[in-house]
Amino acid sequence: MHAGVPVLLVLLALLFVWPVVSLLVGMFRGGSPGEPTGWTLQIVAGVFGDPDTWLAVEGSMIYAVAGTAFGVLLGAFFAFLVARTTVPLTTWVTPVMLLVFAAPHVMYALAWGLLTDPIGGLLNRPAQWIAGPGAAPFNAYSWTGLVTIHVLKLAAFCYLMLLPAFQAMNRAFEEASLISGAGRLQTFFRIDLPLLTPALFGVVILSVVLSLGAFDLPQILGGLAGINVISTRIFKALNFSMPPDYAAASSLSLIMMVCLVVLLAVQWRLFGRDRFVTVTGKGYREDRWDLGRWSGVCSAAIVVYALFALVLPGVQLVSTSLQPTAGVNVYTLQNYRTILVDPLVSKAFGITALLALLGGLFAVLLAAVVAYVGRYAPRWLEIVLDSVGLVPIVMPGVVLAVALLWAYLSIPGLSALYGTFWLALVGIVVFLTPAASRIVRGGIAQLARELEEAARVSGASHARVFADVVMRLLARTLLAGWLVTAVIGAGTLDLPLLLLPPTMPNVSVLAYSYISSGQPSEACALFMVLIAAIFAVGMAAAVALRLMRGARSTAPGGGLANGTVGRSIPVQ
């Protein structure tokens, strides 16, 4: 075992395991984490003996299973269209998904609540013109509405997670299938889909656990419909008692942990090592399918998704950002003026950018190192490493924030960082690593070991192989991971709220300030500026990448297009 592995294990234990373990131990102790109290089983027994808990579990399961099933299907469908077909309009899918994904859940819920408002909601108005004032076929405050809106949002997450895996597919396998007489559909289901299972299952795991922990949509849209889920029970445990009932919140989080463990066990049992390699050194190709007459239908699907997931809620949010208060149909730029003169706003944008970009970068790099070490470690260690990176996801944001806060406060050195940007950055890295690890793991699972072995035989060290072969072959995956985690980081509220000082807020914290002060229109204005900034940065990045690709295509021997990994290590 490499000498660096124990150091890595200690670091992971300190950052990931300890906060969560200390909180889980807290299930059997009353009071706040870190406080000296006695042991008790009463709280856990009380939580699991309460019929309301099981009603909430049932609600969460419906929400998670339905959301994940449709969300993954929709995300995979669009990722397939973009990565593997010549369907028109696919160039617009990634920007659309990025914007849908970047829209904070609370804003999305607010927008959909107003869009489907039975009195003057944009979606219900046409029905009212036809059928009279009482008609309101669209209702966000229902099971159907809640799950549909969740699917629209989750599909963007699944798409961004799955796109690199679809892009890394090797067309040669499909060709072999087609030459053997299989049809396209048969090839997709018998070749493409099985090869993608590690990535798909990774996304399923994340989607299920994220859905179980989802709070804003179930709270806002489900609240009025009387829908109870685990996360709203956790909210009550933390907010309806003083001091907060951390033990009950941890006990409820245990349900999510059980789900995660079961899903991971299934993953490890079904998907062994090296059975899903698609990126090899031999004739790696990524040609695209022409879907013929189905192209039009697929383009229409893109338009319909963009309309419902982005354009309509976007129009609603822009409209709300121009209203003095949400629902008052008077339009003014006052909200924008108010936020732009607030000296904290420009500071918040700077903090958000730094926290998101650095947090995403470190999370992706850490995930890549962990996945690479796991690849060459004994099986048990690989499982440990893979599981550790996922541990924080079992805690809903606010619970994780408290766990990290208390754990870090007891570490000499780290406690001195409290109230600074740096502790918030550490927290964000921990928070983002589960998502990063799934993206990276899906990518690494598709890499053939022969590429690294060739480099090793040529005398390259582990570090050199990692940097020059793995990182370069994973470049797309890592960039996608960075992008996705940075967007998650930009919209994160719970951790910055607890870990950043009030004089140094990020945009989410500032928007939360506006919302909780009864000024949602100003929060909308702030988020419209944030979305515009993300869009501008995304467009600039896209243009830069295109220019770089253009420059590279004119340079001899460069690029990854044919499975080469650079001029220094020929693998073909």
Partner: protein
């Protein structure tokens, strides 16, 4: 209706206190009243200001639900005392206590003042997170009831919890006149936060119960008319559009701000339909800007600050401070449902748990 002897005694005590307050309020601002209330008060504040400047204190950090809403007040403060800015973070309840705790335990303190409901403040004080402090002008500005005997806080502004509704959906003639009217099936669908959460509905019901306005039978009877949500904060837009007709136990402050924005909303002002709530300030133990924090505590109860509170939808508690003439009269509201200080409130809250939880199940 459920009434205890203690509750009656409390009612009588608070009626008397409310009468004194309102008599003072009705007297209006003194003709020659200065920004600080008196020369002595202004002198003591300028001395605090000089000390804060000498200590290099340029900022005050306030945690509390209205710490951002009150920004216009902070701007006035900064004009009065140049060089000191105020930063608010609108957190309350357990999130606030967790943050304050973390700051104290890490030694990296940021917050100077908690400005919140009295129960939040007392929770922080009970954990040993606050200083014992009363501003030098406290006795001049406030009734003795609003200055905590143990020195933990001063109550310096108040709010109302009551029936907020959409004026297009409920005509004036159909408005409830008493809490009993809310049991009528025509009010089915009223949206409330959990009555046992510690939020607005809890505050109102605790005081209604203590004042003998409701009992277990009323709690049982109103349940079919209520849609209970974790928090009503996301639904103000729905009241504005009319999708939700009413939030029967919500804050007057929200009503004032919605009305100011042009929303078609109303607030029932009938005495007995609203409950008063007291809010205050306390200084965190060893705050980073101690002198500036003391200055803020003193300034907040001056006529300059108290007379500006109504623009933000809150009632002043200082003697002589005024509110718009069309607002519900605090005296009448308090006479029907007395405001409660922490000890009495905690007891009444326990009573609500005992009487109400089973009835509401």
């Amino acid at each position: 209706m459920f009434t205890t002897t203690k509750a009656k005694q409390r009612m009588r005590r608070w009626r008397a206190a409310a009468l004194v307050l309102v008599a003072a309020t009705l007297a209006g601002p003194a003709a020659a009243q200065s920004w600080g209330g008196s020369a002595a008060s202004e002198t003591s504040m300028m001395a605090l200001y000089d000390k804060a400047k000498a200590a290099g204190e340029q900022q005050i950090v306030i945690y509390g639900p209205f710490s951002v809403t009150f920004k216009p007040l902070w701007d006035t403060f900064s004009k009065r005392f140049p060089g000191i800015t105020v930063v608010g973070t609108p957190i309350s309840g357990s999130a606030m206590i967790a943050k304050v705790d973390a700051e104290v335990r890490s030694g990296q303190r940021t917050v100077d003042i908690i400005m919140s409901g009295i129960t939040d403040i007392v929770s922080a004080a009970d954990l040993g997170r606050t200083e014992l402090y009363a501003p030098p002008n406290a006795h001049e500005a406030l009734l003795p009831e609003y200055i905590d005997g143990k020195g933990r806080f001063v109550a310096n502004y108040a709010g109302l919890v009551g029936f907020l509704y959409n004026t297009d959906k409920i005509a004036e003639k159909d408005l409830p006149k008493t809490l009993k009217d809310l049991l009528d099936p025509r009010f089915k669908g009223m949206v409330v936060d959990d009555p046992f959460s510690g939020m607005l509905t809890s505050i109102a019901w605790t005081q209604y119960l203590s004042a003998g306005k409701i009992d277990a039978a009323w709690i049982k009877a109103i349940k079919p008319n209520l849609t209970v949500v974790p928090t009503t904060a996301p639904y103000f837009a729905n009241v504005t559009t009319g999708a939700i007709s009413s939030l029967p136990f919500n804050s007057f402050n929200r009503y004032v701000n919605l009305k100011k924005s042009g929303a078609k909303v109303g607030f029932v002002t009938t005495p007995g339909m609203s409950a008063p709530s007291l809010n205050g300030m306390t200084i965190i133990k060893s705050p980073p800007h101690a002198r500036a924090a003391e200055l803020m505590m003193a300034w907040f109860i001056t006529p300059e600050a108290q007379n500006a509170l109504s623009a933000q939808g809150s009632y002043p508690l200082a003697r002589g401070a005024t509110v718009p003439s069309d607002w519900p009269v605090f005296k009448d509201i308090s006479a029907a449902v007395p405001a409660m200080l922490p000890d009495a409130f905690q007891k009444a809250r326990a009573e609500l748990e005992k009487v109400g939880r089973e009835a509401f199940r």
